[in-house]
Symmetry: C2
Subunit: 361 residues, 2 copies
């Protein structure tokens, strides 16, 4: 890899060169971008995506684009990325769009939605179904650009101390489940709370909470929840969690066109790569987990519980759509796209997997 | 985008610059690569992937990496890509690895396998499960590098004039189905044939063949098969068809490191992007097809037919593994990876989709 030690290597010969090779002047300048991430340092998978991105960008640019990353240990504002990138304190951020719903409600819809699209469907929506354009509509007024930043795949419904057999079992259930899904459960009588990740294990072990959701086997194994909660429920609330790269528009506009393209390409590839890495680690970690704790039981919520969750979810969505035309535009676009893409999901991968099961020993 | 009209813009000032900025000399040279594709010109989706790749590479390199693409109309050797890239007649190719199985049998395993991995599982195998390393083992002796080149998603089992209700219905069935899947069907009494794409519609219409497989709704709609065959079977034989970028190793080694990284990144992203595009077009084309011809019926082969196909497939795989240690190494690696990844597929997307169905109206 080429590297450039100074920002203007050619400064000494600038006069000679200007007349016939202005572009090569820009080609030797080093551009430095500062990024803040929501995650603590060494956070697996989530924290690897922005580093993968920065490495690609630096290598592809021959060292002309250098991106440094500050973890939350340093900037102390894990949920302040939106503001720090907006103000220009950082040029970029790595986080998740739904963290800003308290500030800009319509940012909620660009991470994942309960009962919504699965990962390949959602990428189809972003890139071919109008999703990117709608995300731009939401972020543009703040001088921000937002891009997919890595997908976890379908998240698990969480770890439970007791089985959920009916809606009654949700009454008063203390569960760590943030965001929109928490609102859905609250409507059904549960008591959703948010607890910092470092305290989750103890809270579940001491029955301060009865249940929690985190991510899935790709990250849950490291948290050890399988040692203290026997039931692991399949997902309903985050079928395609997509993280986010945020870029300050002024910082982006200052880059020459080739580096802009290197940056957007690196972000896009890093997001797909995180999806594949998550898929991989979910499988391998699940196998490890099962061999360590063979009694972990995978459960799916009963039909009437799921139906009630879906109904509560739908009512909340209708409230959002009624209150804001842009929310309605986004939700209608997602609902329409899901309908079309799901037909294909069902006759392709799903029909294939179902047909294999009929002949498995 | 910057563009460079001459290969050595800085030649005139070379002496002045050499002492302290050698890298910027290389940074102004334009590298040109010639690529041959299997597809005819304007072939949708498959032909868009290499063009998407070339455009990214040119833009990210500020015009220093230019890739021109010859379609099969021009080079006249759609299935000669391997040889033309090996000899250096072309620097790169876009094709599919299983086309070379007659020449190098172990290339068969890097496109997709009957009853094998679905797309995200297979990407996991390529990038985290040893797939890329095994592919290198197969291609390296020929001075070739091979990379994923775009995924179609799960391919459909094909268009049939008559329903397949039992193994008897396969006896003497004339079906256009190339490759390994054709061998599987031949073992069960069918008569697989290969027919050039331009003649497929007429062959099916005039009952020269009883059935054919092509790709899936993403490409089948344009062929019009839905107008002349009522049954559309779900897939078993190509669950994750991955196309291929081939690169001549000497051509690759001549590129400076930053352009090498730009090239590999562009190929990798173009392959994921083709997967998402195929997913998108499969859904939208299926909806169009159904509105035009509402009587098209989606069918899945009966259990005993699928079980016999799987058994025949397994026997063929065992023959391949017994005859060649590298084939055995690849097939064992795939089987092992599939087992681990499939557990995750089943408790994530599949469990989610199944649970939604229980509450759908």
């Amino acid at each position: 890899m080429m590297s450039f030690k100074t920002t203007t290597l050619l400064a000494a010969t600038a006069v000679t060169l200007t007349a016939f090779s202005m572009p090569s002047m820009a080609a030797d300048k080093v551009y430095r971008l500062k990024m803040a991430e929501t995650w603590a340092s060494n956070f697996p998978i989530f924290g690897e995506a922005p580093r993968n991105m920065a490495k690609m960008a630096e290598e592809m640019s021959g060292g002309r684009l250098k991106i440094t990353i500050d973890s939350s240990n340093k900037h102390k504002a894990p949920l302040g990325i939106f503001d720090m990138v907006r103000s220009g304190q950082y040029d970029m951020g790595h986080s998740a769009s739904y963290y800003w719903k308290g500030k800009v409600p319509n940012t909620l819809y660009f991470t994942t939605m309960p009962f919504g699209m699965i990962t390949p469907e959602q990428y189809g929506w972003f890139y071919h179904g109008g999703g990117m354009e709608l995300m731009e509509k939401v972020y543009q007024p703040f001088g921000l650009m937002s891009f997919p930043g890595g997908n976890t795949g379908n998240q698990m419904g969480g770890w439970f101390q007791k089985e959920i057999n009916s809606l009654d079992d949700l009454q008063g259930l203390k569960m760590r489940i943030p965001g929109f899904a928490g609102e859905v459960l609250a409507k059904l009588g549960a008591k959703p709370t948010n607890i910092a990740s470092g305290e989750l294990y103890t809270a579940l072990e001491r029955n301060t909470i009865d249940a929690l959701e985190w991510v899935g086997p790709s990250l849950d194994l490291r948290m050890g929840f399988h040692k203290i909660a026997p039931y692991y429920y399949t997902g309903w609330h985050e079928p395609a969690t997509e993280l986010q790269f945020l870029v300050n528009k002024r910082s982006f506009d200052r880059l020459p066109e080739d580096l802009q393209r290197i940056l957007t390409t690196s972000m896009k590839l890093a997001s797909y790569e995180m999806y594949v890495q998550s898929y991989h680690e979910s499988g391998t970690n699940w196998v490890t987990m099962k061999s360590e704790y063979p009694n972990v039981q995978v459960k799916t919520f009963p039909k009437d519980v799921l139906a009630a969750m879906k109904k509560a979810n739908q009512e909340l969505l209708e409230e959002k759509a009624a209150a804001d035309p842009l929310a309605k535009e986004i939700l209608d676009s997602q609902a329409e796209y899901l309908k079309t893409a799901r037909v294909w999901t069902n006759i392709s991968d799903r029909a294939y997997l179902d047909s294999l099961e009929t002949i498995s020993e």
